[in-house]
């Protein structure tokens, strides 16, 4: 999976410094700069929108050029970003395996992007929610359980009513996802904080048996306890009529999800866009 590849890249390219400035770097043009600028306005962006963004940047600066393959385009930018200890990281949503991208920080362990948007007590609320999510079996923490910890927060005292709004702020800013009164981590948070989470909660953290990345939501083997992301399950058991646990070979008892199909996604999105443009034409 992509995360594995990114990991491997980091491993082999141990920073060996000579002069400052970009090593074996790609070249930045205005196409790349506009892409980065606009990408930064999103906390996290789905692949289809990333491609749209890339095309837009070519259209603005270099109409005649062929649009570079996205992976190469991003690798090029990442080679320049390396000396700044940031990278455009690719991941996938845990529920349906949609590829997503985010510009993440490699050098620090704390949540600096969050830190500039939230107060001390709000960040502490997030941390409490994060801990509950990591410790949970399902990857979800109930609103009630989070709000019960409101008295333990650092900083200015926060009432439960206020905390409810702060949780909604986290959802709006794509740090948390809410489903039926329960909260889990948004793919943005997973991309940005995986390193931090793995280091800070080494015992509680769950790892996917297939891609070896951080796992918040997934399926687990009832016999031996290994876990897999839903999209990893989908890929691993694709067209396998008798799915068995890769570790203990016991029968895999859960429903096997569909592999994410970008084509179907594009069709759905185009019909959405057509409806949208029709609506706007009516104004």
């Amino acid at each position: 999976m992509e995360e594995g590849r990114a990991e491997r890249r980091r491993r082999t390219e141990a920073p060996s410094h000579t002069q400052g400035g970009p090593r074996r770097a790609g070249v930045m043009t205005d196409v790349h700069r506009r892409f980065l600028q606009l990408l930064m306005t999103h906390g996290v962006l789905e692949e289809w929108d990333v491609r749209r963004l890339q095309k837009h940047c070519y259209r603005v600066h270099d109409r005649t050029a062929a649009v570079e393959e996205l992976e190469d385009f991003i690798n090029n930018i990442n080679s320049v970003l390396e000396s700044l200890y940031i990278e455009i990281k690719k991941g996938a949503t845990e529920d349906d395996g949609r590829p997503v991208y985010a510009l993440v920080n490699l050098a620090t362990t704390s949540v600096s992007k969050m830190a500039s948007d939230f107060a001390e007590n709000e960040l502490d609320l997030f941390r409490k929610a994060l801990e509950l999510i990591i410790d949970s079996e399902t990857g979800f923490a109930s609103s009630t359980n989070i709000l019960n910890l409101v008295d333990q927060l650092k900083g200015k005292k926060m009432r439960k009513k206020e905390a409810e709004q702060v949780l909604q702020k986290f959802v709006q800013n794509k740090w948390l996802i809410e489903k039926e009164g329960e909260f889990t981590l948004h793919s943005r948070a997973i991309l940005e904080m995986e390193q931090y989470i793995r280091e800070t909660y080494p015992d509680a953290v769950k790892i996917c048996n297939i891609c070896h990345s951080l796992l918040i939501q997934g399926q687990s083997c009832e016999t031996c306890g290994i876990r897999m992301h839903l999209p990893c399950v989908a890929k691993y058991f694709q067209s396998n009529s008798e799915p068995r646990c890769p570790h203990c070979n016991d029968y895999w008892p859960h429903e096997i999800p569909e592999v994410f199909d970008p084509e179907k996604e594009r069709e759905a999105a185009t019909s959405r866009a057509t409806k949208r443009s029709l609506r706007s034409r009516q104004h």
Binding site: R34, L38, T108, V111
Partner: protein
Amino acid sequence: MLQKPRSRGRPNSQAERERDWGRGAAEEAPSTSRGAGSSQEARSASSQGSRRAEASPEVGPRSQQQLELKVAELVQFLLIKDQKKIPIKRTDILKHVIGDYKDIFPDLLKLAAERLEYVFGYKLVELEPKSNTYILINTLEPVEEDAEVRGDQGTPTTGLLMIVLGLIFMKGNTIKETEVWDFLRRLGVYPTKKHLVFGDPKKLITEEFVRQRYLEYRRIPHTDPVDYELQWGPRTNLETSKMKVLKFVAKVHNQDPKDWPAQYCEALADEEARARPETSGPAPSS
């Protein structure tokens, strides 16, 4: 999993963990040099750390990696701060990022500025000469279609701010607040009424735009009832120009900028002044 080198070292106790988190919250920036403890860790990470003198405040030579990391932090700090459109104070930079790398602050800032321009297309400029506050100017021209692919509002190229900037310029570079509302009323924008798009227009104009340094808002003495005057702020002069604003006004009226000869002359003179090489102060934005 290979760790990217982190000068703070790995937090392995609850107290350390909480400190890191709290640090992030309280001081808003990743830092490697808060207090002697962390910089000690930083220096011991490099092979030259042992050469550091015990008692004297002089710092030992820093590794290339530490410098690179410090520049990276500075770049990040500037990007995050600028996203809020608040000018960045030198004192904040020194406090939250530079720490005991203070002796090489000018070099670090220069390197950070270079990276910001090369990688992101942002130019670091001082808001006003000797003000010791900075903003980022976009070297890329904003394009209308940007709005479709961006995740936030973006800098106001059209909308309320441009209208106010236009008003100010057309009225001779200063305008009374009462005159602004007289005009905006005709567009359905009132100081006391919530607006569907602009929210609280009074707060936006007299507080938000002022804080972002797009506008100056000053009380006119000896006025009863109290009146204020509005002028362009330092950020406006850096991000746009009289000619650009005049072109915007002309476009709105479906006319030509030359239809306002006095303002057109003034805008031309401004363009000429910008084209002349500057000895001090920020370079023209485009």
